[in-house]
């Protein structure tokens, strides 16, 4: 019963998004760069390797605890560029604004973009503004594209991941998704949970510039929509010869987020992050990498959460705190639309 209409869940970041990419996008735009479905495209340009990334932001509400659509759009693109080992340098910003929205609101969003881009030392170099009739978009949608040079010593690829490597997460999971869920007030209660929305540029500067460890990083992924379940399963789509094992006890999560997830019966592994990174690194340098991450405020809760194994190929297994194993699959269907 495939639908002949686009369903909301095609944008959820889970299984339907994958199917949509396969059935529509890759069918028409089949090429070696796009086919890798990395967070940023890697382009060979003269002597350099360039990272190029683009993302649209439709989050609602546009102001949420811990950020707003402006900050999110810049941080998201910076983090996508970092995923391939680039130093984010230039960003283009395109605004689609709904007629009638107050200029004060727009100004607030622009100031937020200004603040984060100055702090992170990225330049807004191009852009576009369109205004549409009431109802043609919801207040404001932002598209950001970014470019950065990839550091010479960094070569991240699916192919380099091997059995024995370890999986690191840079901090507490599920904060963005839960903050958004509560900010919408659908459950009629409030709880102080902030989105983790942040640029990880300064955190990864310490990692990328450390010659001793940089070459031991095999792969990075930004666990946004669909959470770490999606991120890990997506990697395995390119490596059916290995599996991942994750240790539930080691996955960092704040008490508040954990309680809300319990209360609403949401699996925190499926929930979006906007200021976290998954690293797959050589085991022998993993403690050193962890140490560097933990020295930075954005990485203070970093933890080794799992390892690459040669059994249960193509699957992510979760070792529960009770000693049993279960599948950690990609979420299906629409958990919560428009979180980014």
């Amino acid at each position: 019963m495939k639908s002949n209409k686009i369903l909301l869940s095609y944008g959820s970041g889970g299984k339907y998004t994958r199917e949509f990419l396969q059935d529509y996008i890759l069918k028409h735009f089949d090429n070696q760069i796009l086919n890798l479905l990395l967070d940023s495209a890697v382009l060979n340009f003269q002597q350099e390797r360039l990272a190029f990334s683009i993302d649209s932001y439709t989050v609602t509400p546009i102001f949420f605890p811990g950020g707003d659509i402006g900050k999110l759009s810049i941080c998201g693109t910076i983090n996508d560029l970092l995923c391939v080992g680039a130093d984010p340098e230039f960003i283009g910003v395109s605004l689609i604004i709904e007629e009638g929205i107050e200029t004060e609101t727009i100004e607030k969003i622009l100031l937020s973009i200004k603040e984060v881009s100055q702090k992170e030392n990225v330049l807004i170099v191009t852009g576009d503004t369109k205004v549409v009739e009431v109802g043609s978009c919801d207040k404001i949608f932002i598209t950001t594209a970014g470019i950065g040079r990839i550091k010479k010593n960094l070569k991240f690829s699916y192919g380099r991941i091997e059995e024995g490597d370890v999986i690191i997460i840079t901090g507490n999971i599920a904060e963005h998704g839960i903050a958004l869920l509560l900010a919408r007030g659908a459950y009629g209660f409030e709880y102080n949970i902030q989105s983790d929305c942040a640029s990880l540029k300064s955190l990864f500067k310490d990692i990328f510039n450390n010659e001793n460890i940089a070459s031991h990083i095999k792969f990075l992924r930004d666990p946004t929509r669909g959470g770490i379940s999606s991120a890990l399963n997506e990697i395995l789509m390119y490596r059916e010869d290995i599996g991942f094992e994750v240790y539930e006890e080691k996955v960092p999560i704040s008490e508040n987020v954990r309680y809300i997830c319990e209360l609403l019966s949401i699996d925190p592994f499926d929930v979006a992050n906007e200021g976290k990174m998954i690293l797959i690194v050589s085991k022998n340098k993993s403690e050193e990498i962890l140490e560097v991450l933990r020295k930075h405020p954005l990485g203070k809760n970093a933890a080794i959460i799992g390892e690459v194994v040669s059994v249960n190929k193509g699957k992510v297994l979760l070792n529960t705190i009770y000693g049993s194993k279960r599948i950690l699959d990609m979420p299906v269907g629409e958990g919560l639309p428009r979180i980014c």
Binding site: M1, K5, Y187, Y259, I321, Y322, S324, R326, I327, D329
Partner: protein, 377 residues
């Protein structure tokens, strides 16, 4: 809240209970099969990998306690009929019905076709929705057992009190206790077909949430008439393993009873206020359960004084002929524990959470969905 939550997730307590279970199972030798009738239990058992932690001779099978799964195709078809044939209608539903396939469409697909389908988190939101859309007819799709019926009853009473005219309810609610007895009888009648699991049902893990409403006393017939051990259980890992241990003890000492492991919220009498609400608004009629068939007095129907809120009457829904192209779907048998999801040939191949063929796969608390999501190791 925190200590409370952590206690019932404590891995050391779980470990101790499992040790006791292993000892009992060893002494009992024979195979035993327990049914968790509630979808939430099914999900938790899969999620925490409890099945795999049990000794080999203790099997858990899932029963018909997921309201979405036992809802007949006609119900979805009726909702779609209303959405398609009337203008200015808003269909309001809980999220778990959204993707359930009817005969040839689902609410999700109707929404993509432009029909106004809204997902609510609480039945109470439907009142606001109706008041904010006076030029539209709001229809709430009401399914669920005694657990959800009091809230819906309350909303219907409130709608009547406030004289809200543009609101109606498509009632698919079922009385779980009536279905449970039908299942007990069915499991005895079909004893032979339970050979696949090597036994009949030796004990029941009863739903904690539903029991809050109906109370311990509503299950006494299970011992008095059928001598089956059963235990009312909460939903955390400690609750579940403790429930299994209690069942094994009852078998070991041969004293079938209704035990209450969930005393922290379930009382002997249940919630009288909620029970009265159900009786005030609903009466019983014959209902169709997926997997079991027609069961007398098992379905809820609005009482005469509330029939102005009955969507079936308001929209004069004709008899709907159900078609299901996937006749090889074995949800029917999964629902009564006759087979496990793994024994269905569609499972995991033709029928997946992305393209579900039956309700047990699409419902987040269906047995097939739980097996697929967590147990394909």
């Amino acid at each position: 809240m925190s200590n409370f939550l952590l206690y019932f997730k404590d891995k050391d307590i779980v470990k101790k209970e499992l040790e006791k279970i292993c000892k009992l199972a060893q002494n009992l030798q024979k195979d035993y099969c327990f049914m968790e009738v509630c979808g939430t239990h099914t999900m938790q058992i899969s999620k925490y990998g409890i099945r795999k932690l049990l000794p080999k001779n203790i099997k858990l099978i899932s029963g018909p306690g997921c309201p979405v799964c036992v809802t007949s195709l006609e119900f979805i078809d009726k909702a779609i009929y209303i959405a398609r044939n009337f203008n200015n209608v808003i269909i309001a539903t809980f999220g778990d019905l959204f993707r359930v396939p009817g005969s040839e469409s689902s609410l999700e697909k109707e929404k993509a076709e432009g029909k106004d389908i809204r997902i609510l988190y609480s039945p109470y939101e439907v009142l606001t929705l109706a008041k904010e859309n006076l030029n539209k007819n709001v229809v709430f799709l009401s399914i669920g057992f005694e657990t959800t019926m009091p809230a819906v009853a309350w909303v219907i009473k409130d709608a009547k009190r406030q004289n809200i005219k543009n609101l109606s309810f498509l009632i698919g609610n079922k009385f779980f206790l009536v279905g449970l007895e039908a299942l007990v009888l069915l499991s005895r009648k079909f004893l032979a077909s339970f050979i696949t699991t090597n036994s009949s049902i030796d004990g029941f893990i009863l739903p904690g949430n539903l029991s809050v409403i109906v109370g311990e006393k509503s299950y006494m017939w299970m011992v008095e008439k059928y001598k089956i051990p059963s235990v009312i259980t909460g939903f955390e890992p400690v609750d579940i393993v403790m429930g299994i241990r209690l069942l094994l003890e009852m078998i070991y000492y041969d004293v079938p009873e209704v035990k209450n492991e969930y005393k922290r919220v379930v009382t002997y009498e249940g919630n009288l206020f909620a029970k009265n609400l159900i009786n005030e608004v609903f009466e019983t009629s014959t209902g169709k359960w997926r997997g079991i068939g027609l069961i007398a007095s098992s379905a809820a129907k609005l009482k005469k004084e509330f029939e102005e809120f009955d969507a079936e009457k308001k929209f004069e829904i004709p008899d709907i002929k159900v078609s299901n192209e996937f006749s090889e779907c074995r949800c029917n048998e999964v629902l009564i524990g006759k087979i496990t999801p793994l024994e269905c040939t569609l499972f995991g191949k033709v029928c997946t959470p992305e393209n579900p063929k039956g309700a047990c796969m699409v419902s987040s608390e269906g047995a097939c969905s739980a097996y697929y999501k967590y147990e394909m190791v």
